[in-house]
């Protein structure tokens, strides 16, 4: 099981630029979604005239499913400045990969809950770290894409773009850097020092 919680209002405000297209994923049964909070956020943004479109769907972690669902929203997404994804980390990564030139934001943090984990037959993964880093890593998960789960940048071990641990795997931070350069967001690397919080399962119970 996993649980997604909305990031703080302060964090969300810093992420949301211009007109916003919102993707809600009410996905699989393994996820507990912050429905009420998401609705309140959407309402607040709508009152400010900042909502370019909304889609509430499921299984956005499946790229084929996602592109079918988003087809009729293509123009609205194109026009939007920010795509705000309210889903688990896998969903955000799928959307980011689909719109490499867009500002795609993770609106939620994903925490683990005891029990069955959602299964995605995909290359992207989310380890429910409880403090989603996708907004500072170009939508590529540093926890699962980097062998050391580094959150402050590349180690010195990459050779020919491959990870020191597994030469068959591209260095996750090489991918993150390239994606950030591609979307013109290298500035996020100037963010404060990141320190993992391993007490996140406790936070859920707060």
């Amino acid at each position: 099981m996993l649980i997604t919680r909305l990031k703080s209002a302060e964090t969300l405000e810093s992420l949301l630029k211009g007109q916003i297209f919102i993707i809600n994923c009410h996905g699989c049964r393994e996820v507990s979604f912050p429905t009420a909070e998401a609705e309140a956020l959407e309402k607040a943004l709508a009152e400010q005239g900042r909502v370019a479109g909304v889609i509430t769907t499921d299984y956005i972690c499946n790229p084929e499913n996602l592109s079918v669902r988003l087809e009729k929203h293509a123009d609205a997404i194109e026009a939007a400045d920010t795509v705000l994804v309210l889903s688990c980390g896998v969903g955000v990564q799928t959307v980011s990969a689909m719109f490499p030139g867009k500002r795609v934001c993770a609106g939620c943090d994903t925490y683990p809950l005891p029990g069955f984990q959602g299964v995605t037959p995909l290359e992207v993964d989310c380890r429910q770290c409880g403090e989603c880093y996708l907004n500072i890593t170009g939508g590529i998960c540093p926890i699962t894409a980097c062998s050391k789960s580094l959150v402050n940048g590349q180690c010195g071990g990459a050779k020919d773009g491959r990870c020191e641990v597994d030469h068959n795997m591209e260095c996750g931070w090489e991918r993150i850097y390239r994606r950030l350069a591609q979307v013109g967001r290298l500035d996020v690397l100037k963010c404060p020092v990141q320190i993992r919080n391993y007490a996140t399962d406790k936070n859920v119970g707060e």
């Binding site: 062998s147 050391k148 789960s149 580094l150 959150v151 402050n152 940048g153 590349q154 180690c155 010195g156 071990g157 990459a158 050779k159 020919d160 773009g161 020191e164 641990v165 260095c171 931070w173 090489e174 850097y177 350069a181 290298l186 690397l189 100037k190 020092v193 990141q194 320190i195 993992r196 391993y198």
Partner: protein
């Protein structure tokens, strides 16, 4: 003595690296360091380099300090969580260690205990930040330290010839912002790449020591080319080492190559860091030939 004082005086700062043995014996390492590395600014002690279990870096630093040398304590995030790292940083200060080099560390799968749990609770950037916090009298949990706070010259590493050099520069900037006061680089064999790197790294205003390995033979260099991140020995150097095996074996060719790299890079950096890998005895020759 803090290595940063030497940089501040405008000296071309020389350091070298020693690796503790797999055992409790330190006498020969200390004796060798005393004989060959007494005239340089500082001596790095590696922290279970390449994830191979050895005697501790801190213990060896203490031994070197007792022998009158100026150690740089290398500390990696591979084996310890933030509690153990902070505790070891305080321990180092209690023993009078004044220089610390913060690294993420290799993954355990690269070493002789591949089954070990990779920790990486912190990384090089957050470790630098942690040292700075302790220096301000507070730990990572926000608790006040009792008594005087520790104080170090805080160093970090960067890989100028990496094929991901832009990602490396971005990380370097994060390290500077987190508190790094000097850098030692991965081994350089291609001065032109290093010079291009320094043109970009100069903006951070932090002294950089050129990393140098004394190449022992062509086989070692080919191994590094295939396996060591950020190190590339060009073909002409390989040919030079292969041309006269006896000369290479005696270390003459390697010393010449190392000195040549230092000479070419010297105008662009603030010091040199020699990773002798067992050839500590050749460090004085390299420096002499490089005109230092």
């Amino acid at each position: 003595m803090k290595i940063t004082e030497s940089f501040a005086r405008g000296e071309f700062v020389v350091s070298a690296e020693v690796g503790p043995s797999k055992g409790v014996e330190t006498a020969s390492l200390v004796a060798e360091a005393k004989e060959y590395l007494s005239n340089i600014t500082a001596v790095n002690v590696t922290d279970c380099q390449s994830s191979v279990m050895r005697l501790g870096s801190l213990a060896t630093c203490i031994k070197l300090r007792e022998a009158g040398l100026n150690p740089i304590y290398q500390l990696t995030c591979r084996d310890r969580n933030r509690i153990a790292l902070q505790s070891d940083i305080l321990s180092a200060a209690a023993f009078g260690i004044e220089n610390i080099l913060c690294l993420t560390g290799d993954h355990p799968t690269l070493g002789d205990h591949p089954q070990a749990k990779p920790v990486f609770d912190l990384d090089s950037v957050s470790l630098l930040y942690t040292v700075k916090k302790l220096e301000e009298g507070e730990d990572l949990g926000g608790n006040k330290l009792v008594g005087p706070a520790p104080s170090f010259a805080k160093g970090a590493v960067v890989s100028p010839c990496s094929d991901s050099v832009d990602a490396q520069l971005a990380k370097m900037e994060r390290k500077v912002r987190a508190g790094a006061q000097f850098f030692q680089t991965q081994a350089v064999f291609e001065p032109e790449k290093f010079i291009a790197f320094m043109e970009k790294a100069g903006q951070f205003g932090v002294p950089v020591q050129l990393g140098v390995i004394i190449p022992k033979n062509a086989g070692m260099c080919r191994y590094m080319n295939n396996n060591v991140a950020g190190v590339h020995v060009p073909d002409d150097m390989l040919a030079e080492l292969a041309a006269d095996k006896e000369r290479a074996k005696a270390g003459i060719t390697g010393v010449e190559i190392a000195a040549r790299v230092i000479k070419a890079c010297r105008p662009y950096c603030q010091g040199v860091h020699i990773m002798a890998l067992g050839w500590e005895a050749k460090v004085p020759e390299v420096l002499k030939l490089a005109g230092i």
